[in-house]
């Protein structure tokens, strides 16, 4: 059975949902960032699959995937810098204990 666009899209949706579970239910901020990276990766899989199956010559989806990678790299760098700064202040990366701005 040939692999179609649906296979890649369902795989992408599964990856996104797994990442969503982690991002919502984890307490360690580093793991939450990892799950956000998984979700961005899932979107990239969908982008490249659309690029291959819907616009195979234009390659626009691959360019979008590269832009998403740029933003994801910037987000990971700033996010991990924030986590390290918070850890230096409060000696924890547990998001339930980082509640200074919670009302």
């Amino acid at each position: 059975m040939a692999i179609g666009l649906d296979h890649f899209l369902v795989l992408s949706a599964a990856m996104f949902s797994i990442g969503l579970v982690g991002a919502l239910s984890k307490r360690n901020a580093v793991v939450i960032l990892m799950c956000i990276e998984i979700m961005l990766n899932a979107v990239n899989v969908a982008m490249v699959a659309f690029s291959r199956y819907v616009t195979p010559v234009a390659l626009t989806g691959q360019v979008f995937a590269i832009f998403i990678m740029t933003v994801a790299a910037a987000e990971a760098a700033v996010g991990l810098a924030l986590i390290i700064a918070v850890y230096r202040q409060r000696q924890t990366v547990d998001v339930q204990q980082i509640d200074l701005m919670k009302w």
């Binding site: 899209l9 996104f16 239910s25 984890k26 307490r27 580093v30 691959q62 832009f67 990678m69 986590i83």
Partner: protein
């Protein structure tokens, strides 16, 4: 993409990617979660190769499996504490329910939509050149501009990277 090799490769890579992403969410040790994350990045790069996106696969290996993975390993090492275990908060059951609902909805919509699939057997073989033309614009032999491509988003992305770099250094600095 009718040969059996691509089909087998897709299913093997899909199992690797899904298994390692599930492990990222379920393992207790944060360092092991980071290693499973690298495995899932490499699996996704393999999926890009089955989609004939060789340049994106190379970039995936370089940026994700290289740079981002090192960043995560450093972050795990630097935030070594008593709560290093990757614990769940009390939202686990609702989060699982919401994500399952989202997956069911997305999968149903994606399978039932008739995409305008335009499948050709031999896609672009020289993807780096084509992507460079798309990113930076292209000119014909006489030097006239054919299309400006994604030059403006490209420049915005480079400014974003610079701002993120400066911001990360400022935020993570001692004192």
């Amino acid at each position: 993409m009718s040969n059996a090799g691509v089909t087998i490769a897709f299913y093997v890579l899909a199992v690797v990617v899904l298994g390692s992403t599930i492990s990222v969410v379920t393992v207790r040790n944060v360092f092991h979660a980071a290693l499973y994350l690298v495995l899932s990045f490499i699996g996704v790069a393999g999926l890009y190769i089955t989609l004939s996106a060789d340049f994106v696969a190379a970039v995936q290996i370089l940026i994700y499996a290289g740079a981002v993975a090192i960043l995560f390993v450093f972050a795990v090492m630097l935030t070594h504490g008593p709560e290093q275990a990757s614990q769940n908060n009390r939202l686990r059951a609702p989060a699982f329910f919401v994500a399952a609902l989202l997956f069911a909805t997305l999968a149903m919509v994606m399978v039932n939509t008739t995409w305008s699939v335009n499948m050709i057997d031999a896609p672009v073989t020289d993807t780096p050149t084509k992507i460079a033309e798309l990113l930076l614009g292209s000119r014909n032999a006489a030097g006239e501009l054919l299309s400006s491509g994604f030059v403006l988003p490209f420049e915005v992305a480079s400014v974003l990277l610079l701002a993120a770099m400066v911001g990360a250094i400022v935020v993570a600095r001692e004192d």
